[in-house]
C-alpha cells in the first residue's frame, strides 16, 4: 500500500501548553482537522477542540429503558401468558414482584450499552493506528501531550508540511514531526 501522510504531530510538555496551542489554532483556522492525545482526561480539552457532544448517554438511556421494558415484559409474558399458575387466587400480573428483575435488567443493559457504545464510537478495539508511529508516542500514556494536524481540512488545499511543523514549534511543541500511515 502506498504510504499516506497521516498528519503532522507536535509534542507538548504540559496540558496547559497543549490547550493554549489548540485554542490558538482553532481561532486562526476553525476548519482545521485536529487530534489531541493526552495521558489522562484533561479538563477542557473537548471544549478547546470544539468536539461535538458524545452520544454515549443517549445510547445508555435508550438501552436502560429497553432493558426495563424487556425484563418486565419477559416476566409478564411468562407469568400471565406462557405459564399461568393460580396460587390461592392471587393475580397473575402481580407487577410489584416483577420490579427487582426489571430493575436489574435495566441496569445491566444500560451498563453494557455504555461500555460497548463507547468502544464502538471510539472505533476500539483497533490495535494498529498510524499515530503510534509518532516519535516518542509511548509517552502519550505517561506524561506527554500530542497534537496532530491532519491534512485535508480544506478541500483541495495543499497541506504544507514544513509550514505546519514551524507552526507547531511556534505554538510551543518541544518536538514535532510528520507521521505516515
Amino acid at each position: 500500500m502506498k504510504p499516506m501522510l497521516y498528519g503532522v504531530v507536535g509534542r507538548f510538555e504540559t496540558p496547559q501548553a497543549l490547550l493554549a496551542a489548540i485554542r490558538t489554532l482553532r481561532e486562526q483556522e476553525p476548519g482545521l482537522r485536529l487530534e489531541a492525545y493526552a495521558p489522562y482526561a484533561v479538563e477542557g480539552l473537548a471544549e478547546a477542540l470544539r468536539l461535538p457532544p458524545t452520544r454515549v448517554p443517549l445510547i445508555t438511556l435508550l438501552a436502560g429503558i429497553a432493558g426495563a421494558l424487556g425484563g418486565f415484559f419477559m416476566q409478564w409474558y411468562a407469568a400471565v401468558v406462557s405459564f399461568p399458575v393460580n396460587i390461592g387466587g392471587r393475580p397473575l400480573d402481580s407487577w410489584p414482584m416483577f420490579i427487582p428483575v426489571a430493575f436489574e435488567m435495566a441496569i445491566l443493559c444500560a451498563a453494557l450499552a455504555a461500555v460497548f457504545g463507547m468502544l464502538f464510537a471510539n472505533g476500539l478495539p483497533r490495535l494498529y493506528h498510524p499515530i503510534f508511529n509518532a516519535p516518542c508516542f509511548d509517552l502519550a500514556t505517561r506524561d506527554r501531550y500530542f497534537l496532530c494536524v491532519r491534512p485535508g481540512s480544506v478541500k483541495g488545499a495543499d497541506f504544507d508540511v514544513a509550514r505546519r511543523l514551524r507552526q507547531l514549534s511556534r505554538l510551543g511543541a518541544s518536538d514535532s514531526g510528520e507521521v505516515w500511515s
Binding site: P15, Q16, E35, A36, Y37, A38, P39, Y40, A41, V42, E43, L45, A46, L49, L51, T54, V56, P57, T60, G64, M74, A78, A79, S82, F83, S94, M97, F98, P100, V101, F103, E104, M105, I107, L108, A110, A111, L112, A114, V115, G117, M118, L119, A121, N122, L124, P125, R126, L127, Y128, H129, I131, F132, F137, D138, L139, A140, T141, R142, D143
Partner: protein
C-alpha cells in the same frame, strides 16, 4: 506544614493527600514498576520476598483444597455440610451474605465517591474494585455449593427449554441470581473500563514482547485520543451512576431472601437498609485490611496515606452506628410487635445456644469500632488493622447468626434443633478466603493496583493550582 499545604492545593477542600513531589511521570513509573519492574519487587528472590511467596504458596494450596472439596461435595452432596432440618441453611448461606457484603465497598468507593467528586478515592478505588469482583464471584459460588443438584443451577435463568418452564419470578432467589450476575458483570465492566488506559501505559512501558502483546491486546489499542477520552469519561461516569443504585439493590435483594420468609428473625422490614449498612461495614473493613499490608509491603505510603486510612475508619465508624441501630431496631420491633415467636427468638439470641456468637459480634461490631472516635486511634496503623480484622470476623458471625439462629428454633418446639458446623463447613469457609487472597495476590502482581491515569490527572490538576 507539608500536609496542610497539600490540603490547600486540593481540587476540593481537603482532598488528595499524596506525598509531596510526585509528577505525572513519577506516579506512572512507580505504579507500573510494581508490575513490570526488573530488579523490582518480584524478582529479588526468596530472601527479599519470603512473605509474598509464602502467602502465594499457602493461598494457592487453599485454592487446590477448595477445588477438591467442591469435587467431593458434588460427588457426595450437601450431606457434607452440617445442615439438616430444621437448619437447612448453614455456613454456605452465611458465607454467601458475608462475601457479597465484602464485595460492596469497592463499588461504593468507586462509584459513589466518584459521583461525589471525592478525589481521594483515586488511590484506593482500583484495588477496592478488584476486591469487589473477587468477593462477589466467591459469593456467587456458595449458593451453587449448597444446592442439592448444583448442575441444575442454571435453571434459575430464563432460557428457551423443552420443558417450557420459566423461573418463578415471585421468588427472591430468582431476583438474587439476576442481582448478583448483574452486579458481577457491571463491576467487571467498571473495573475493566477503568483499566483500559492503564493497560495502554503498561503496553508502552513493557520491554518484553510477550508483555507488550498481552497488555496491548487487553488495552484494545487505546491511544489517548481526546475524542476517546471524552466518550470514555462519559461512559465511566454513567457506569458509576448505574452502579450506585446497583450496590444498594444487590444487598437489598439478598436481604429480601430472608425478609420475605415469615420465619421469626428473618421477617423484618429493617433488613434492607441494615444489610446494606452491614455490607459497607464489612467491605470497608476489608479495604482497610488489604490497604495496610499493601502500602507497607509495596511502599505505597505516599499514595495510600494516613488520610485514606483515617477516612475509611470514619466510614467504618458510621457503618458501625448504622448496624447498631439495626440491632436495636430488631430487638425493639420484636418486643413492640408482641409476637410470641419474635420475642422468643430475641430472647434465644440473648441466652440460647448461640448466645456467645451474639455477644461476640456485638463486641466486634458495636463496641470495638467505638475506639475509632479517637483521632489518635484512627491514625494508629496496627490498631486499625486489628479493628478491621475484628469487624470482618464480627460481620461473619452476624451473618451466621441471622441465618442459623433464626432457623434453629422457629414455630414448633417439637422440630427445634441445633446446627453444628461440620469439618467441611470450615474447609469451605477457609478455602474460600484462600481463593480470595490468591486472586488478590495475582491481581497485585499483574495489574496496576492504583489507577495511573487518574493519578496523573490528580497530580497535574493539583500541581496546576500551585501555578495559578
Amino acid at each position: 506544614m507539608a500536609e496542610n499545604d497539600m490540603d490547600t492545593t486540593a481540587v476540593s477542600a481537603g482532598t488528595p493527600v499524596l506525598g509531596p513531589g510526585w509528577t505525572a511521570g513519577g506516579v506512572t513509573d512507580k505504579i507500573s514498576h510494581i508490575v513490570l519492574g526488573r530488579g523490582g519487587p518480584w524478582t529479588r528472590g526468596w530472601k527479599a520476598h519470603w512473605r509474598w511467596r509464602g502467602a502465594l504458596l499457602i493461598s494457592f494450596s487453599g485454592v487446590l483444597v477448595l477445588l477438591s472439596a467442591s469435587a467431593w461435595l458434588f460427588m457426595r452432596g450437601v450431606g457434607l455440610f452440617g445442615v439438616n432440618m430444621p437448619v437447612a441453611w448453614g455456613f454456605a448461606l452465611g458465607n454467601f451474605v458475608w462475601w457479597i457484603g465484602i464485595g460492596h465497598a469497592g463499588t461504593f468507593i468507586s462509584a459513589i465517591l466518584l459521583l461525589l467528586r471525592q478525589r481521594w478515592r483515586t488511590s484506593i478505588n482500583r484495588y477496592a474494585e478488584a476486591m469487589t469482583l473477587f468477593a462477589a464471584g466467591i459469593a456467587g459460588l456458595f449458593p451453587i455449593f449448597h444446592l442439592g443438584r448444583p448442575w441444575f443451577a442454571y435453571w434459575l435463568l430464563p432460557y428457551p427449554n423443552r420443558m417450557e418452564l420459566w423461573p418463578q419470578w415471585r421468588s427472591p432467589l430468582v431476583w438474587d441470581i439476576f442481582a448478583i450476575s448483574t452486579y458481577l458483570l457491571v463491576s467487571l465492566l467498571f473495573w475493566y473500563v477503568g483499566l483500559i488506559p492503564d493497560l495502554a501505559s503498561l503496553r508502552d512501558k513493557a520491554r518484553s514482547r510477550g508483555k507488550q502483546l498481552a497488555y496491548g491486546l487487553l488495552a484494545l489499542g487505546w491511544r489517548g485520543d481526546a475524542r476517546h477520552w471524552q466518550r470514555y469519561e462519559s461512559a465511566y461516569l454513567l457506569l458509576a451512576g448505574l452502579a450506585t443504585p446497583l450496590v444498594v439493590s444487590v444487598h437489598t435483594v439478598v436481604s429480601l431472601d430472608f425478609a420475605i420468609g415469615n420465619t421469626p428473625g428473618y421477617h423484618s422490614t429493617i433488613f434492607p437498609p441494615y444489610f446494606v449498612a452491614g455490607a459497607l461495614f464489612s467491605g470497608f473493613a476489608m479495604v482497610v485490611t488489604l490497604a495496610i499490608p499493601l502500602r507497607h509491603y509495596l511502599n505505597l505510603r505516599d499514595f495510600i496515606t494516613m488520610r485514606h486510612l483515617d477516612l475509611a475508619a470514619r466510614v467504618m465508624l458510621a457503618c458501625s452506628l448504622f448496624v447498631a441501630y439495626g440491632y436495636a431496631s430488631e430487638i425493639f420491633t420484636a418486643y413492640y410487635s408482641g409476637d410470641a415467636y419474635e420475642i422468643h427468638m430475641t430472647q434465644d439470641r440473648f441466652t440460647g445456644v448461640y448466645a456467645p456468637v451474639y455477644w461476640a459480634y456485638i463486641c466486634c461490631n458495636v463496641l470495638a469500632p467505638q475506639i475509632l472516635w479517637s483521632r489518635r486511634m484512627r491514625r494508629n496503623v496496627p490498631a486499625l488493622l486489628i479493628i478491621s480484622l475484628v469487624i470482618n470476623a464480627g460481620m461473619w458471625m452476624e451473618r451466621f447468626l441471622i441465618v442459623v439462629q433464626s432457623l434453629h428454633q422457629d414455630f414448633l418446639p417439637s422440630s427445634w434443633g441445633v446446627f453444628v458446623p461440620s469439618f467441611w463447613d470450615w474447609v469451605f469457609l477457609l478455602s474460600s478466603i484462600a481463593l480470595f487472597v490468591w486472586l488478590f495476590l495475582m491481581f497485585v502482581r499483574y495489574l496496576p493496583l492504583i489507577s495511573m491515569a487518574e493519578m496523573r490527572g490528580l497530580v497535574q490538576e493539583t500541581s496546576g493550582e500551585d501555578v495559578r
